[in-house]
Symmetry: C2
Subunit: 333 residues, 2 copies
């Protein structure tokens, strides 16, 4: 195992310590629970608060999206492990300004269970919550079972759009509606080239042999639907865009945003080669790309691979997407 | 070889095509030479232009630093290969507004030769140029031979500081003076865990065995001064900070900026664990950290490893460091 760590069991706490020190202008830790992080100025008055959370190992997901125009608080779990319900409840109280709290996170069993319990604990203290679960991974379940799909890099769009709506002073119901619509409008598909290594395990949890790739793979290495010979960048882009376009029922005249997301070890150079083809495909189909994101948005430590997310825009989503935000990892002006 | 590419010989041109499409609001290509990129609004009137260049494979270095408050133009070479002198001369003409052009790049033989020739070509057309060469890699040559050191991630600071000075309307001499002072004030040391693969070669150009690391390694895999058993994150941070501090003659009361730079495959989580220790060391020594950068700033494709750069601040460098800039990869507000 080749990692810059000290003791494997301290990876998450030391990472958080470094992160809080580096970004003390934007983030604060929360009393009682060192794995809860909040916006420096939380609770923000007269604003619906947005809380997310999930396992570590996916930076910038989840905690990297705390900031103005995005999330108010995050409950951080150990590597690939859910935060506890008590922890989620604690961060809920911390960021709630009285206007309600939206739980916005990806569809994984442990997270769903713990956020649901936290929601019940909040209800007992008269904190209103709503829940929207990200299910953008088009490869994880067939059409018709969309709500059982996993949540992956498309979560970025849910945060951005709901975050922008909340920043405008919208109600909990309105913010949740935008998050729901964003989730219905975004699809992601990933492809893996090589695995990541859990620090406490010390070896890869799956293998992809030399010369092979796996299309449809999840961000924890969940199996995809194609494992075979490595394809060219253009072929990979074609396969993914074709699957997403059909699932989203994209047609000429539509407007979309595209996110090419590196899973950890994939060079930016290759992500731009992939985007080149995505752009060519959409241009041929007379589908306009309004806003492009390329880089690391939802990783899996040192896993090599990438995902492509496509968000179908309507007028409101387009407007909300183009508002500014400031987080430790990305800034949009 | 596991890469998202099409034909190896098209990697750079297809990457550039994707990059120009994705960032057409900030960048433009330049007639006659598809491997020259410029600020969308170049030439910027009444401003010294800054030109850099070098081999590809290091994104965001070099072309990723084009933008307001940073570079005006970049001559892009093939992977790990210098751009030609004619190419550099062409971009010089393209971005020159009449106030002179600063050549600012890292110390590699091919680049030095070609920039020098371009400078002579510019002189014949009455375009005034000045040259400052980045030599921040403390491990590449001993003290006393600073000007023979390689330029690595510290180039980011040279771009930022000279770029901010140029944006203020300073003269060529003044901008070059800031770049020189920045170079004298910054030191970098890298550490490698695993190699990168050149697309046209298809296999690693060097190896670091399982359980081993190499400290002092360059961004093309140039050998370091220690190759041995992998150390903890804290030990790596201590070694690097100690070398840099002694070379920069840092002492209590100094103020510095820190850049932790991932070489390509190293997770952000590990970079924050490294930064945690860097911060602790400086705190103990009563050295203040003013501004922190963590992420990918100068990579080597899929190489695993990182570097730490430390910039010693004076009043002017501190002021210039804190001004905004906008580039395709990073934004500072």
């Amino acid at each position: 195992m080749k990692k810059f760590i000290n003791k494997p069991e301290n990876v998450v706490s030391e990472m958080l310590e470094g992160l809080l020190t580096a970004h003390s202008d934007l983030l604060k830790s929360v009393e009682n629970n060192p794995k809860n992080l909040a916006r420096k100025d939380a609770p923000v008055q007269d604003k619906v608060a947005i809380v997310s959370g999930g396992g570590s190992g996916h930076l910038p997901l989840f905690l990297g999206y705390i900031g103005k125009g995005m999330l108010d608080g995050v409950a951080v779990g150990e590597i690939f492990a859910s935060p506890s319900s008590k922890q989620i409840f604690d961060i809920t109280k911390e960021v709630n300004s009285g206007k309600g709290v939206l739980y916005l996170y990806g569809n994984y069993g442990g997270d769903v269970m713990n956020f649901d319990m936290a929601s019940e604990m909040a209800e007992m203290e008269d904190i209103e919550t709503a829940t929207v679960i990200g299910t953008d991974d088009v490869a994880s379940m067939p059409k018709g079972q969309e709500n059982q799909r996993r949540g992956v890099a498309g979560l970025f769009y849910l945060y951005k759009l709901a975050g922008a709506k909340a920043e405008e002073g919208a109600s909990l119901e309105e913010v949740a509606e935008v998050a729901k619509r964003a989730n219905q409008s975004v699809r992601t598909m990933g492809v893996g080239l090589s695995p990541c290594i859990l620090p406490e395990v010390g070896k890869p949890s799956f293998t992809i042999e030399e010369g092979q790739m796996e299309i449809g793979m999840g961000i924890h290495g969940e199996p995809g639907y194609y494992k075979g010979e490595i394809q060219t960048a253009d072929e990979v882009a074609e396969t993914i865009v074709s699957n997403i376009s059909s699932d989203l029922a994209l047609e000429a005249g539509n407007e979309v945003s595209v996110l090419v997301n590196g899973l950890g070890a994939t060079p930016l150079e290759e992500q731009y080669i992939i985007f080149r083809k995505v752009s060519n495909i959409f241009q041929e189909k007379n589908i306009t790309i309004d806003k492009v994101y390329i880089g690391e948005y939802a990783t899996s430590m040192e896993m090599a691979g990438l995902s492509i997310s496509v968000l179908k825009l309507d007028d409101e989503l387009k407007r909300l997407l183009n508002t500014p935000y400031t987080t430790p990892f990305h800034v949009q002006v």
